[in-house]
């Protein structure tokens, strides 16, 4: 196996990690600020992809679709925050799980009601088709490179939003003490709606970007949701930094495991067995990673309130 291939796979892992980060950052933000477990985050991801595909289909422009997908998911997020989510902040996690589980059912069936059961078409813009040569003899799809870039921009953007802006200050205050920030005269419900909508925009953005690479179909959000949860739990719930590290870890471990475990097992087993045992283990690998991390650090790698 050549070095270039290993490098390329590493890049693939990073890219998968960055995609997961876009998804996970919104989830972790919402949990960190409002203490809310939002299972319907995956549905917002799906909405983003559907709106993007639909709008891109009508206008013929991916970029318009991307904008619509992100904003559409944001609006959708704001609406569900206003109608449902805000009643859940004072409830325990159990009620939150149930309510957002119900939202998944509503969103999934609602979407297939509106858009039909068939997957939608969404193609990458011509501008970003094709591959580029990178140092080390790796040729890499331009679009995936752009996803990595967008992920980095989001990470920087979130960092700036939280550490440098007035809203970020309020968000940080809200994480520490909800009553205090209310006492400071900040309109807390508006802040929460804003944060939830930001999370939704991030999910919608992830959905639109990945809709190009994936099948835009009902149910596309749930696998991503589970992965995103694995990511934020590994990273430490509520921590953006943790989400970034967790996402990269999960992305790289998953990618490397998928590719190298079967070859590893072929050293000790015959080929067919090695392939099936190796891939079985590969599909369990990230959960194994999560269990190990939590067994050692029960609050994840970067506990938010330490």
């Amino acid at each position: 196996m050549s070095i270039a291939l290993v490098l390329e796979q590493l890049l693939n892992g990073v890219q998968l990690g960055v995609m997961l980060f876009t998804m996970a950052s919104g989830l972790t933000l919402v949990f960190g600020v409002m203490g809310l477990i939002n299972l319907s985050h995956g549905s917002l991801y799906m909405m983003g992809a559907f709106i993007c595909a639909y709008v891109a289909g009508i206008t013929g422009s991916f970029w318009v679709g991307l904008l619509a997908g992100a904003l559409g998911a944001g609006v959708m997020g704001a609406i569900i925050e206003l109608v449902v989510i805000r009643r859940l902040y004072d409830r325990d996690h159990l009620d939150q799980v149930l309510a957002t589980f119900a939202l998944i059912l509503i969103f999934s069936e609602g979407t297939s009601w509106i858009f039909g059961a068939s997957p939608l078409w969404l193609d990458m813009p011509d501008l970003l088709g094709g591959s580029v040569s990178l140092p080390g003899g790796v040729t890499y799809p331009l679009y995936r490179l752009m996803i990595i870039l967008v992920g980095i921009l989001i990470a920087i953007g979130l960092y700036l939003l939280i550490s440098r802006t007035r809203i970020g200050m309020r968000i940080r205050a809200g994480e520490n003490d909800r009553e205090m920030i209310g006492a400071l005269g900040v309109n807390i419900s508006a802040l929460y709606t804003f944060v939830f909508a930001v999370g939704a925009v991030l999910a919608g953005l992830a959905g639109s970007l990945l809709g190009v690479l994936q099948s835009v179909q009902v149910g596309m959000g749930e696998p991503m949701l589970i992965l995103a949860f694995v990511v934020i739990v590994i990273g430490g719930i509520g921590s953006i930094k943790g989400a970034l590290v967790g996402a990269l870890l999960v992305g790289v471990v998953d990618t490397m495991g998928r590719i190298f475990l079967p070859s590893l097992f072929s050293l000790i087993l015959d080929n067919a067995d090695a392939t099936s045992v190796g891939s079985a283990l590969a599909s369990m690998l990230i959960y194994l990673l999560m269990a190990v991390v939590l067994a050692v650090k029960p609050k994840g790698l970067f506990p938010a309130n330490a």
């Binding site: 009620d95 509503i106 297939s112 959960y287």
Partner: protein, 326 residues
């Protein structure tokens, strides 16, 4: 006994209806409703198991489908080996005797829960929710890709396993077995919660520090509750496999864990008969809205959402008022 409270009345009516409905259905020669009732009863029992951890112990397990599925797989695998006379790893023969299967199912799930619990119970809150989910996912993916017992296709049980000399293939008799198991698990939960262990578990949920200050380690209490809860759920899983004549990885999927949680919450968290009410309503909704429209899940979602938003305390809570602690 004290005067029956309103909740006890509701519970009694619920149990009576659940017991009588299949009898009537059987008299009217509608065996379908008998097996539907068996389904309700089995799912209720699985939820009773979850309720012990989630409702009484405050341990929000998002991975109980793992134990449900393990129970199912024990039944499936035992029957598979009994059917073709082959052996499980290490020359263990199969069995088609329910008592043997139940015992093994409960032991296997108990061991699994002990292992999962030792690691998971180090964490709390959302972390606990997610790590239990992670373990369940591991088992799920293993089941899908492990070919010996059918992988995703699952495993069929061609002849329903037997219990003494009863005719288990008779829907009404099978219902009786399930109903008896459900009542047993509820009775067990009730005794348990009234015992010293129950007092400690309640305290572990309400105030862990108080429990420790009282000289009782919270961890073993929680672990035991988690294991017992898994055992009940796996017993239900074994029955479910027998009801369906079939076991597959979908029993292990996270959707199933979610559904079990939904049933517990729907009925009322930490209410003895909450899971029963939840299971009745959930299965009936699934069955009858499914007959109306292909978008039945949409309406199921709406109903669930309104229950959380407007009926805090679940159905039993809605009917019986706030829970009474003594």
């Amino acid at each position: 006994m004290r005067k029956l409270s309103r909740e006890s009345w509701i519970n009694s009516v619920l149990v009576l209806l659940l017991a009588l409905a299949p009898l009537c259905a059987s008299l009217l020669d509608e065996p379908y409703y008998v097996s539907l009732a068996s389904r309700v009863v089995i799912i209720a029992m699985a939820a009773v198991g979850l309720n012990l951890a989630l409702g009484f112990g405050g341990l929000i397990s998002f991975g109980h489908a793992a134990f449900f599925g393990l129970g199912g797989y024990v039944a499936g695998v035992a029957a598979y080996h009994a059917f073709d006379g082959s052996y499980f790893i290490g020359g263990i023969p199969g069995s088609d005797q329910m008592p043997v299967i139940w015992l093994v199912a409960v032991l296997v799930a108990g061991l699994a829960a002990a292992f999962i619990g030792v690691i998971s119970l180090r964490t709390q809150g959302v972390y606990f929710i997610m790590i239990t989910l992670a373990f369940a996912q591991m088992i799920y993916y293993f089941a899908i890709s492990f070919p010996t017992y059918g992988g995703e296709d699952g495993l069929s049980i061609y002849v329903r396993n037997s219990l003494f000399s009863l005719d288990t293939s008779d829907p009404l008799i099978f219902f009786g077995i399930c109903f008896f198991s459900l009542m047993l698990s509820i009775f067990f939960t009730r005794r348990l919660m009234g015992s010293r262990f129950g007092a400690a578990l309640t305290m572990a949920r309400l105030n862990e520090v108080r429990l420790a200050t009282s000289g009782v380690e919270p961890f073993p209490i929680r672990l035991t509750a988690f294991v017992l809860s898994a055992m009940i759920t796996s017993g239900a899983g074994a029955l479910f496999a027998d009801l369906n004549g079939f076991v597959s990885p979908s029993m292990l999927s996270w959707h199933h864990s979610g559904e079990l949680m939904v049933i517990v919450i729907l009925g009322g968290v930490g209410r003895l008969f909450g899971p029963v009410a939840g299971a009745v309503v959930f299965v009936l909704l699934e069955t009858f809205i499914g007959g109306f429209t292909q978008h039945w899940q949409f309406f199921l979602g709406l109903i669930l959402l309104s229950v959380v938003l407007f009926a805090n305390g679940g159905l039993i809570g809605l009917l019986a008022g706030r829970s009474r602690h003594d």
